[in-house]
């Protein structure tokens, strides 16, 4: 099918529109969103398969030829991310059925989730820089609504900050696109890359590269620009937090990877050096946050920041091992962060608090939850048979082979601190003397556990079967490290 890359976008869009007409019929909404997300996963699987067999898939919307119209491009990286995103969406929607509450469900919760998906999937599969801005806005607008939906005081307060930060970064994105347009005179990403390779990466293009790093760094929470994230991600209800933690920051990371590998790869000395330093600092500050807090939400939130640093470090060392490591780690991290947020969400629902010091002994009454969390924690830290291992191994390998010894040592040490921070949750939350918690009986533990268990099983399979996934990843790396493949696929010269 020629229009395959647009299908994963259209399904959530149409579903969102349909769901807007039936806000009060909660049961029907659940059924429709479940079916739609299953179909999205199916379409994404077909897309990955198609890209694997036939190379990069492009759709020129309205049949306008490549540099003049909007092109949707699915290379292996974006197809894999589309698949991961749709799986995470499916899991969070299943989790939402029993946790989000009727009040929110009646006020357009499911439609907004679908629109968030449209934005994220669109940002992953667009081939046009301004179109990427538009999809960012679709995603952000949906995320504002999801963040504030329910209207508790903390949500209102944190939404103001989140909105302000993103308004500023969107304005910077427009400014960056304006500057880039004035130099290359085109918006199609493949065509921009071609033009830049013709004129060479002059000083002004390096400035624009840094501007893009700032823009996507605010979205993706890299070191000096992560300040908004811990507060904002603390506020929303758990399934929303899982969606945000797994998807939103990763879109920023993907955009950095895309623009830096496609546009700004001619003069690596300056920009990539900055990227490496910032990613290391991101890891360090994430570690400080992750081991400082006694609040389960905060610990996982700071773990997001650490992972962002690790992925960007793997990308910025630009060896083949580093690149494939960062893609492995990116997909692993999306799955595992969603699972961890859903699991701590259950802990919070059972205990009625997010303070670790008030929890304890959950393993006696909830062994299933405890062991799922244990596996998730080990996978997050990168213990060998599980999914975090291969990515980090390759990143470390790439770091050593391009002689960034200190940075690589910090990446290695970060695993230790990550393990410490999640084991702190395990030891204090699940071991120890059982306490009685209020509201314990009301929590439907069994049905809530379905979604995180799906994700953990996937993550374990991802780790164990990394050999089977390797051809997909290496195909993604090939496009990332060799932009001409991308350009030729889009411009068809």
């Amino acid at each position: 099918m020629i229009n395959l890359p647009i299908i994963p976008l259209l399904i959530p869009l149409l579903t969102g529109i349909i769901l807007m007409f039936i806000p009060k019929k909660v049961k029907l909404q659940r059924v429709i969103s479940l079916i739609a997300s299953l179909i999205t996963v199916g379409a994404a699987v077909i897309l990955v398969n198609k890209v694997y067999k036939d190379g990069i898939q492009t759709v020129n919307l309205s049949s306008w030829d490549a540099p003049f119209g909007i092109t949707l491009v699915s290379d292996m990286l974006s197809a894999l991310l589309v698949l991961t995103t749709s799986i995470i969406a499916l899991a969070t929607i299943i989790y939402s059925f029993r946790s989000i509450g009727e009040e929110r469900e009646k006020f357009y919760y499911y439609p907004v989730v679908q629109f968030l998906l449209v934005g994220v999937l669109g940002a992953f599969s667009t081939g046009d820089i301004f179109n990427m801005f538009v999809f960012f806005e679709v995603m952000l607008m949906a995320s504002y609504v999801l963040l504030v939906l329910g209207g508790t005081k903390i949500q209102l307060r944190e939404t103001i900050k989140y909105l302000l930060v993103n308004v500023i970064s969107s304005a910077l994105f427009v400014i960056a696109v304006g500057y880039l347009y004035s130099i290359v005179g085109t918006l199609n990403m493949a065509h921009i890359s071609l033009r830049i390779s013709e004129i060479g990466q002059t000083g002004i293009l390096t400035v624009i590269a840094i501007l893009f790093m700032i823009v996507f760094g605010i979205k993706g929470a890299i070191f000096p620009l992560y300040f908004w994230l811990p507060g904002s991600y603390y506020a929303p209800p758990v399934p929303v937090m899982a969606l945000f933690g797994a998807l939103l920051t990763k879109v920023g990371v993907y955009s950095i990877m895309r623009t830096y590998s496609l546009f700004f790869y001619h003069d690596r000395g300056y920009t990539y050096q900055i990227l490496i330093v910032l990613s290391i600092l991101t890891i360090i500050f994430g570690i400080i946050g992750a081991i400082a807090y006694w609040d389960v939400k905060k610990i996982i939130i700071y773990n997001i920041i650490i992972a962002i640093g690790v992925i960007l470090f793997g990308f910025a060392v630009t060896t083949e091992a580093g690149l494939s490591g960062s893609i492995y780690y990116l997909i692993h991290d999306m799955i595992i962060k969603a699972a961890l947020f859903l699991l701590i969400g259950m802990m919070i629902a059972i205990t009625g608090t997010s303070d670790l010091r008030k929890m304890g002994g959950l393993i006696k009454t909830y062994p299933g939850l405890a062991w799922t969390f244990f596996i998730a924690a080990l996978a997050l830290a990168g213990i060998p048979p599980l999914s975090g291992f291969v990515g980090k191994l390759l990143i470390v390998q790439g770091g050593f082979s391009s002689e960034y010894y200190l940075g690589t040592a910090i990446v290695l040490a970060s695993s230790l601190f990550v393990l410490f921070s999640v084991m702190k949750i395990f030891i204090n939350g699940f071991w120890g003397i059982p306490k009685t918690f209020k509201g314990e009986e009301k929590v439907p533990v069994r049905s809530l556990l379905i979604a995180p268990v799906i994700l953990i099983v996937l993550s374990v399979l991802y780790g164990v079967g990394s050999e089977a996934i390797n051809p997909f990843i290496s195909q993604a790396v090939e496009t990332l490290s060799n932009p001409t493949i991308y350009i030729e696929a889009v411009l068809k010269e």
């Binding site: 301004f130 607008m141 504002y144 508790t152 900050k161 500023i168 969107s170 304005a171 427009v174």
Partner: protein, 112 residues
């Protein structure tokens, strides 16, 4: 002409930055409005301000102004319009709920 526009846009960005660093929420929202004005004018300027007819084929001129930045600006305007109206309603709602518009008092992590 572009130089003049660049200076004006610079002044707009300066005022926006100043306003967004203040304590009152309304001043911050005014700052975001000015910031988006600056960004839109910048798009227009960066597309080039060379003389030409309005991009309508009925004009039958020998040269037209670049239509692409205008389309980009139109898109960016409606987006920032939507975001600003959401922001204003959010500010109104949080004034009702939290009873303050002072950003200094919107701190902390506890569910007060």
């Amino acid at each position: 002409m572009e130089i003049l526009m660049a200076i004006v846009i610079g002044v707009l960005f300066m005022s926006a930055t100043y306003l967004m660093l203040s304590k009152s929420l309304l001043r911050i929202i005014i700052g975001t409005g000015i910031l988006s004005h600056g960004a839109h004018l910048l798009l227009l300027t960066m597309g080039g301000l060379k003389k030409g007819a309005a991009p309508l084929l009925g004009e039958q001129a020998s040269s037209y102004t670049d239509p692409l930045p205008q389309a980009l600006i139109l898109t960016a305007i409606v987006i920032s319009f939507g975001v600003t109206s959401f922001f204003l309603v959010l500010a109104y709602r949080s004034y009702q709920e939290l009873g303050t518009d002072n950003m200094d008092r919107l701190r902390g992590n506890e569910k007060k």
